[in-house]
């Protein structure tokens, strides 16, 4: 009996060892990404298939994460020691995580792809002390979009170039049934919009040397006031409207001005607008208007939408993640990926973007003016990453500042609760100062 029991135990132990060996050989590469377009997901499936074919011992587990919750999920995963192997980030997150020594450099990937082949702003934004800590999965820029036909009908100046002109147009185009301005209700996007307005009013969130919040500075106060004035002409219920829903609103003739939108909008226009209207002559793009405090001679800037792939320290499969990136940027697949959301997901590889055949793609030809706005902004160095004022800016505290909702809270304090911009800014300043001090970044 004893012998029988011993042999059962021994066999079970052997089987367990074998199973364990088998499992050890098979790795799972956890990839978080934020792209939602069904076409992009299909191409990503191709990337995964190709990668898994070349790396039969690795299984890729792709997880779609909403931008609005990426940050919290990432913090939880880092805190519990189980970050994804590869993830999308936002540039200001890269800088913040780099300063906290939480990122693995991917310089070898950048060099393998050809450093000179990567668009300069997309590359430089993640260069820290000679090492790259992120690489944009694609890039694009923001612009303001207007219903040019309605502007013409009302005899309004097109495009508006100052905040004052925008407000005049908003007033002229608004009716009780159809307010003119589209606003988005997700704090994540409210912050970005505010950042764009602020940058184009000569302001900034914090002092770059001391990290002291600059919320009580004049450009900041003016920006809060502008947001408030713009909201007077915004669609009903905007404080709870999701980003993509607002694209549909604009496309379906429910509003006439869409501030700070990204080129993904054109797909919604094609899908939802009346066919006779679904063209760039009706939905016309323009570079952002300027605020009253932007120094004369300084050009307005657009948001540089270049979310990078990054590897968090503590990831279990760093080399596999790097190998995955090399497959992701493989030219045939990458070109196909960027064309799933043309204009919005522009390639960071110059060999693709500058290829004359790329510009001949139907969507780019059809929406040429949109493409040109982006090219102009990039050519004239007028693109600044979200919540930053240039690709050179480094700011370690934007991650926490954005996560604390202090920016969107100020906007709501002014718009929903009717506080004065000065009062809201003072409240936000206090909260931000306390947060920065608590995090150990206070240098003032």
């Amino acid at each position: 009996m004893k012998r029988a029991l011993a042999s059962i135990v021994a066999t079970a132990a052997m089987l367990l060892c074998l199973a364990d060996t088998g499992q050890a050989q098979q790795k799972t590469l956890n990839v978080w990404w934020t792209e939602i377009d069904p076409g992009s997901i299909k191409v990503m499936d191709k990337v995964i298939a190709e990668y898994e074919k070349e790396h039969p011992n690795v299984k890729v587990r792709l997880e779609s994460i909403a931008w609005g919750t990426l940050f919290q999920r990432l913090v939880a995963s880092i805190g519990t020691g189980s970050p994804p192997d590869l993830t999308h980030l936002v540039p200001y997150m890269v800088d913040s995580l780099y300063r906290k020594d939480q990122l693995v450099p991917i310089t070898d990937v950048v060099k393998a792809l050809g450093e000179n082949d990567i668009d300069e702003p997309a590359r430089l934004v993640h260069l820290n002390e000679g090492q790259y800590y992120g690489l944009a999965y694609a890039m694009g820029t923001s612009h303001w979009n207007y219903r040019a036909d309605l502007f013409k009908e009302k005899g309004l100046k097109f495009p508006p170039t100052t905040w004052g002109e925008v407000l005049q147009a908003a007033q002229a185009l608004s009716t009780p049934e159809r307010p003119a301005v589209t606003l988005v209700g997700e704090p994540f996007y409210i912050d970005f919009w505010f950042g764009e307005f602020l940058m184009n009013n000569g302001g900034r969130f914090v002092d770059p040397k001391t990290f002291k919040p600059a919320f009580t500075d004049r450009p900041f106060i003016e920006t809060l006031a502008f947001f408030r004035d713009l909201s007077k002409y915004a669609q009903k219920g905007w404080t709870n409207q999701k980003f993509l829903d607002t694209f549909v609103l604009f496309a379906t003739d429910k509003t006439a001005i869409y501030p700070v939108n990204f080129n993904r909008l054109h797909l919604f226009i094609k899908k939802y607008a009346q066919p006779r209207m679904a063209n760039p002559e009706i939905f016309a793009p323009a570079l952002p208007p300027r605020g009253p405090s932007l120094p004369a001679g300084e050009k307005t800037k657009v948001l540089f939408d270049a979310e990078p792939w990054a590897i968090i320290k503590g990831a279990k499969n760093v080399q596999e993640a790097k190998d995955f990136l090399k497959v992701y940027y493989r030219k045939s697949l990458y070109r196909e990926m960027t064309l799933t959301v043309p204009l919005h997901l522009s390639p960071v590889l110059k060999s693709i973007a500058d290829d004359p055949s790329y510009e001949k793609e139907p969507a780019i030809r059809e929406w040429r003016s949109w493409y040109e706005v982006m090219r102009t902004a990039l050519r004239e160095n007028r693109a600044a990453p979200l919540l930053m004022t240039s690709v050179q800016e480094r700011n370690p505290i934007m991650l926490e500042l954005q996560g604390s909702k202090v920016i969107s809270d100020m906007v709501l304090d002014v718009i929903v609760e009717g506080r004065s911009p000065e009062e809201a800014a003072a409240k936000g300043q206090k909260k931000a100062e306390e947060l920065i001090a608590r995090l150990g970044w206070k240098k003032w």
Binding site: F71, V75, E186, K236, N240, K242, E400, L412
Partner: protein, 285 residues
């Protein structure tokens, strides 16, 4: 020895799943600790002092109390009423009994997406319907700052009242029919029978249901967060569990988040003990 050995697994589970998290959370609450960096400073009761002076904390507490109290009361009312109806004999009763559990069985994420769609200002079923009937000129902002609490309460009651129905219906089926017959013989009408026969019989089950639903609603995170957390207007219905999440994972202040957890535990402990004591006193009378 065998007796002690047999309780070891239970003891292990209680220690691992209840005691350790409680103690760890209490330990965290006296530190100023970053969410993932190895930065921690002992601050004693500093986090609690900070909370007491924080308007956001008091607003979240107020929202939480309003939310928990209102939803619990409405769930009770709806749950008891539906249980009484389902206790009666009628054609299709079995189907109705199954169907009423539907809201409780649907995953919260589905519930919140569907109700967000129904209440949407631009394309929501309710607003479109009201406009079509000519009842409104402009959309009602069910998800806007002013009505959001009402909407969250409505969705939560809809989602969780079947729990009360189930518990009450189960108890109703064990109430001896003789009690009703005797009451009828004594001339008691439907209302009196409910008040003097049904309610006393439901007493024990209602005590438990109020306790459980009250605790669960006060600590409810998923429904509130998924319905309101992503949008700016969410701050107008922010409850303590949501504030805990945001402090911990958005502002990365784990100590502060843990302190909110401790405060919630103490508050609930006080309320539960007071409630049970009152019930016991009432019973003794």
């Amino acid at each position: 020895v065998l007796g002690y050995a047999l309780i070891v697994p239970s003891l292990g589970l209680v220690t691992g799943l209840v005691l350790y998290p409680l103690l760890f959370n209490s330990w965290l609450s006296v530190f100023d600790k970053h969410a993932f960096l190895p930065i921690e400073t002992f601050v004693g009761l500093g986090n609690f002092r900070e909370l007491l002076g924080d308007g956001e904390f008091w607003a979240s507490l107020r929202n939480g109390v309003v939310y928990a109290a209102t939803t619990t009361i409405l769930q009770l009312a709806l749950g008891i009423a539906s249980a009484l109806v389902l206790h009666e004999a009628f054609v299709g009763r079995s189907i109705a009994r199954g169907a009423i559990l539907f809201p409780y069985m649907v995953p919260t994420i589905v519930v919140t997406i569907v109700w967000r769609w129904i209440f949407n200002e631009q394309y929501g079923f309710v607003n479109v319907g009201l406009a079509w009937l000519g009842a409104i000129d402009t959309p009602v902002e069910f998800l806007g700052p002013n009505l959001l609490m009402g909407t969250v309460i409505w969705v939560s009651v809809w989602q969780f009242f079947p729990f009360v129905t189930l518990a009450v219906l189960g108890r109703l089926q064990t109430v001896p029919l003789e009690l009703y017959e005797a009451a009828a013989v004594d001339g008691a009408g439907a209302v009196k029978r409910f008040r003097h026969v049904t309610l006393p019989q439901l007493r024990e089950v209602l005590i438990v249901v109020v306790l459980l639903r009250g605790i669960w609603m006060f600590t409810k995170f998923d429904t509130v967060w998924l319905l309101t957390g992503i949008e700016a207007s969410g701050r107008y219905v922010q409850t303590l569990p949501v504030m805990t999440y945001l402090k911990t994972f958005a502002s990365m202040q784990v100590g502060l988040g843990a302190a909110i957890g401790v405060v919630m535990l103490i508050l609930q402990g006080v309320v539960v003990l007071t409630y049970l004591r009152l019930m016991r006193e009432h019973e003794e009378e």
